[in-house]
């Protein structure tokens, strides 16, 4: 299969690049080893659109964060993504931390982050009455926001697909292909070869390994686990904005936030580990999060927890992003080591990459504007948020919208069917695209129903339906056949 550009990885970085490049007449292939999107760090993160004060001026991160933030405030309408424009506070508990706020304020100004200011603890508490009485001052960033990261990644990739990009899931890149000059010729995958003169490495936590295939050992990824609590949606009213503690060397520290859908959430830890795929939570990690959460929000209602999860982010030794084209082999572009504020930066990184292809790789591909580019993409209808008249109209047009599948998040069968039409093949894919199963019963009610619909629509036996692809089958066979196949009697 011949393409102009192959993008490795469809997290928010890869998806944003795919959409940006779909503005040009290019044959694009986006490859991801996961069965549903988002899968890696883009699934399990703080879903923060950062204000832009945290990055040292002059770093690559600082270059992209503020422009990315601005772009998201516009993209939310274009892509129909939930963005809670809530603002953020960095909270200081002592004089040293107040000094740190001052430094952040300076950085914010230097980075061009609008509206950043320091307020007193009392002023903050007049807006956020439930936060700790021990907060003495806080840095307020009005442009910071919280995004629905499940929607955002799917919106980006859908928009790219609308404009001609092709997405290949469960496609694991295992190596690079080089031409006789030693330049990029494509990638090898478990599903065959994908040929292209340009390969973009948006491989997240695997991006260091992928770069090394191209002989680039200039950076190393340090997989860094972040663990989180996610609480019931009824708890979201405790805060109205995103709360940071003062950052430490390891990361931005434990935050407390309200997701775009109104769940209280807290995390992440920052634990370095060897295994890029180990997303298990740990007793120590969860205890650390709880401690951090209670520091900011003393009555953090952990008894309303509905799930805990962990993500592994692609930290680098330098702490900065690794973005650029290699001089040799030609055609290999890194969008690597993207960690916080990666989600924020992604649309700006994507624009930069397009520019870079024009300027530095013109010998390999030509970027001709795609005059048929459609910027708008609509989300699957969100029944929960619709007014009653719209709901009625929708249900009248399609009775599947008059059948609830997920009772916690009021997700209808119509939404699940639409997710399947848009490519969902697993229970988790439906969850990412519709929120079915993200609520307080965590799929206890809807998982069997979603599985039944997947089985019906895809013509798969129920016991072939998976939770998240691979070996994650929900069931192991039919009852009676299972018993009859078994040798001898039961363990009576």
């Amino acid at each position: 299969m011949n393409y102009d550009v192959v993008i490795i990885g469809s997290g928010i970085t890869g998806a944003s690049i795919a959409r940006e490049l779909s503005k040009y007449k290019l044959k694009l292939a986006v490859l991801d080893k996961a069965s549903e999107l988002p899968a890696g760090a883009s699934r399990a993160n703080s879903s923060m659109i950062h204000g832009g004060f945290d990055d040292k001026p002059g770093t690559v991160k600082a270059k992209f964060c503020v422009p990315g933030n601005k772009m998201w405030h516009k993209l939310k309408d274009e892509l129909d993504v939930h963005l809670d424009e809530c603002g953020s506070y960095v909270c200081a508990f002592n004089d040293d931390e107040v000094k740190h706020l001052e430094k952040l304020l300076e950085q914010g100004k230097a980075n061009g982050a609008p509206g950043v200011e320091i307020v007193s603890g009392d002023v903050m508490r007049s807006r956020e009455p439930n936060v700790s009485p021990e907060i003495v001052a806080a840095l307020w960033s009005p442009e910071a926001a919280i995004i629905n990261n499940f929607e955002a990644v799917n919106a980006m990739i859908e928009s790219a697909k609308i404009n001609g990009a092709e997405l290949f899931l469960e496609t694991h890149v295992t190596g690079l292909l080089f031409d006789d000059k030693g330049d990029i010729h494509g990638v090898k995958t478990n599903k065959g070869e994908y040929l292209a003169p340009v390969v973009i490495n948006a491989g997240g936590v695997h991006s260091g390994e992928i770069a090394s295939w191209a002989g680039d050992n200039s950076f190393k990824i340090i997989p860094t686990k972040g663990e989180y609590y996610l609480l019931d949606r009824t708890t979201g009213g405790l805060i109205t904005s995103f709360l940071f503690a003062c950052p430490s060397k390891a990361g931005k520290g434990i935050t407390v936030l309200r997701t775009a859908e109104g769940n209280l959430m807290s995390g992440p830890t920052a634990t370095e580990q060897d295994d890029p795929e180990d997303r298990s939570t740990t007793p120590e990690g969860l205890a650390e999060v709880l401690k951090g959460a209670r520091k900011l929000l003393p009555n953090f209602p952990v008894n309303m927890n509905i799930t805990t999860f962990a993500g592994v982010r692609a930290n680098t030794e330098s702490g900065d992003f690794e973005i650029g084209a290699l001089a040799k082999p030609r055609g290999f572009v890194n969008a690597a080591g993207i960690k916080s504020p990666g989600f924020t930066s992604s649309p700006a990184i994507a624009e930069y990459i397009a520019q870079l292809l024009k300027e530095e790789l013109a010998d390999r591909i030509t970027l001709t504007p795609n005059d048929k580019f459609i910027p708008e993409r609509r989300n699957i209808p969100r029944f929960l948020y619709m007014d009653m008249e719209s709901r009625k109209a929708l249900a009248e047009k399609d009775p599947a919208y008059a059948q609830i599948v997920c009772r916690c998040e009021t997700v209808t069968e119509g939404q699940v069917l639409e997710a399947i039409r848009r490519g969902a093949r697993t229970v988790t894919a439906v969850k990412m695209m519709t929120r079915a199963g993200t609520g307080r019963c965590q799929g206890g009610f809807c998982c069997p129903r979603v599985a039944e619909i997947l089985s019906r629509e895809l013509g798969l036996p129920l016991d072939e339906v998976t939770r998240h692809g691979g070996e994650s089958k929900l069931l192991v066979g039919k009852t009676k056949e299972f018993l009859l196949k078994k040798e001898g009697a039961t363990n009576e």
Partner: protein, 122 residues
């Protein structure tokens, strides 16, 4: 003389029963029960322990792919896995009526397997 202790399963109270048996294995005393059902359960449990078997059978053309069944009366405990296999081999046609006998005298136990719900055909 021997003593055996077990929990009565006749009702949700779950009384702790103590049964005394003489050397010939005959029950001489039942203690701990709060009702006559407990006493008869105790006697049955030491001589011929029985349980109601409840499972499902495969149904062709029904509103559900399986229909719940039960043994109409308690079946010998030692025969339950044999009964489970006999039930697993069965395929019935919808519609199914509650109380409908699906297997007579299952595994020679003199116990019938009956449907425990109505299941309409589709």
């Amino acid at each position: 003389m021997t003593e055996r202790k077990f929990i009565c399963v006749s009702c949700p109270l779950g009384c702790g029963l103590t049964v005394t048996l003489d050397d010939a294995g005959e029950v001489t005393k039942v203690e701990g029960n709060t009702c006559p059902r407990g006493a008869s359960y105790a006697r049955s449990e030491v001589k011929d322990p029985r349980r109601v078997f409840a499972s499902t059978v495969r149904v062709n053309g029904g509103k559900l792919p399986v229909c719940p069944i039960r043994s109409k009366t308690p079946a010998p405990r030692g025969k339950l896995s044999e009964i489970a296999r006999a039930v697993a081999e069965l395929n019935v046609e919808a519609p199914v009526k509650i109380g409908q006998v699906l297997i007579h005298n299952v595994c020679g136990t003199d116990v019938d397997i009956v449907a425990s719900r109505d299941l309409a055909a589709v």
